[in-house]
């Protein structure tokens, strides 16, 4: 299944400037695409538009076409679209249902709303909790977890939906290194099972480890796009407000100091 954006532009309600312009993007089954760019370059907006929440839930004006396997999704209501496309917000506080009393119920909330048989809901919920190693949080109150734990719970809720397309806005922002690794591995597995994933991240290390292609936004336009290794090594990246991965920076610093950067080659971009 391919989710395609063609010539997409978007303007928030009550504003005169376009937040996105001329976006052409294809999210193919089995592939993770990275999204980078300075703050307010349009990453979150692109996540909202790609997931269909903008304009459906927040208004605004959309131009261009969004299709799934060639079918225009323009007329699809949110409940239909949300069975195909999952979205994870930047702040887990805005993701959690606020109605579930335990982490288990929170993660089961999505699949329950798909009206799946009870056993399927239980299986999916336990599997998602195990994937992110938060089984021991199952009985806890989601509102009384640390920020990072809440983020893992929010992502587990998305995994349990098994969406064909998953859009994630800075999914690892509050995670520790282990949580970041677990989420990265879970997303790679989800893609290997056929999902297409779009991940916006400031942590370029995560993109280096996960995304085959990466696009960079500046003022709502795509200014760089290509294989992740090339994009993250592009000398223009810092000017675009994006911090390259530490390994890339280290190589550049060594080279600028006149050292033979090959001695660092054993270090991969992900560190």
């Amino acid at each position: 299944m391919t989710l395609t954006l063609t010539g997409v532009g978007y303007r928030y309600a009550g504003t005169s400037d376009a937040a996105l312009l001329d976006i052409d993007l294809e999210l193919r089954s089995g592939e993770v695409v990275g999204l980078a760019g300075a703050s307010e370059s349009g990453k979150t907006t692109l996540c909202l538009v790609t997931s269909g929440l903008a304009p459906r839930a927040i208004g605004g004006l959309l131009r261009g076409r969004i299709t799934i396997d060639g079918t225009d999704v323009d007329a699809w209501p949110m409940h239909r679209l949300s069975q195909e496309i999952g979205i994870g917000f930047q702040s887990p506080a805005s993701q959690l249902s606020q109605v579930a009393g335990t982490v288990f119920e929170e993660v089961a909330f999505g699949p329950m709303n798909l009206a799946l048989p009870r056993d399927d809901v239980l299986d999916r919920t336990w599997e998602a909790l195990e994937t992110l190693v938060i089984r021991d949080l199952a009985d806890r109150d989601p509102r009384r977890l640390s920020g990072g734990q809440q983020q893992l719970v929010a992502i587990a809720g998305l995994l349990a939906m098994r969406p064909a397309h998953l859009i994630l806005d800075e999914p690892t922002a509050q995670l520790d290194p282990q949580g970041t690794r677990l989420v990265t591995e879970a997303l790679a597995r989800l893609a290997a099972n056929g999902a297409s994933i779009l991940v916006a991240e400031q942590k370029t290390e995560v993109l280096a480890a996960l995304a085959s292609r990466t696009v960079v936004l500046e003022a709502g336009r795509m200014v760089l796009a290509g294989a992740t290794g090339e994009v993250l090594g592009d000398p223009r990246l810092p000017e675009l407000g994006v911090t390259p991965p530490a390994a890339v920076r280290l190589r550049h610093a060594a080279r600028d100091a006149g050292l033979d950067a090959r001695m660092l080659d054993e270090v991969h971009a992900g560190g």
Binding site: G37, E40, D141, R144, D176, L250, A254, L259
Partner: protein, 273 residues
Amino acid sequence: MVELRTEGLVHVYRGSGVRALDGVDLRIGPGERVAIIGQNGSGKSTLVRHLNGLLRPTAGRLLIDGVDARRLRVAELAARVGVVFQDPDRQIFSGAVVDEVRFGPRNLGRSGAALRESVEEALELTGLAGQESRNPYDLGQARRKLLALASVLAMRTPVLVLDEPSTGQDRAGAARVRSVIESVAAAGRTLIAVTHDMELVAELFERVVVMRSGRVILDGSPSDAFGGRRLDLLRSTNLEPPVAARVASRLGVPGAVTEADLVAALLRRELPQ
């Protein structure tokens, strides 16, 4: 200038019964720059929420300049310790940037030129000068985080506590956060940060406190924490040193924990003897 001390600090969350702090003894002297690191749920945020009285210890105590924090009124505590939370939306409530930044210092009784000066300085340092009349919710999440930082910075508390300050910041925002840390340190104020950003820790902090399951398992310099000898402790809690420190140990340059240290050490090694 203020000295902070915790003695056997224990915190059990009511309801869940989770022992988030399990006997923490720390002394943080005036002007120190301390990074607190640890896994999600290790007690970092619980610890800092005690420092401004948001949480009360279940057992043990917090001493501020030798006085038990329980004896201080909230306003007295707020004048000494400013805390910036990781989620700006739990902090911001004003309709305009400048009102948000004015709120704290005004509550501390500042007015006139002193108020204006501290607000201007905070806006300048966080790159929000010129945005005074904007609604905070028209700013992106990263700039709202800088606004939350500005609003606490403007209070000019002797102790500043930052919870995940660099999270979600782009290159320019991360540079702002660094310059704020440097300027607070230069002014001799105490700076405490909770963070997963190991490079920030290696580059800007002189002391690293590592927490695991509500306890302090390591308290030393960045090269103690990241530089080799104690690496097993760090890894026992699933943390990794910054990339530069890992490369340094692989290339046999012990003690280098930042990119600059590493490059300098490699240059020295390349020089003809």
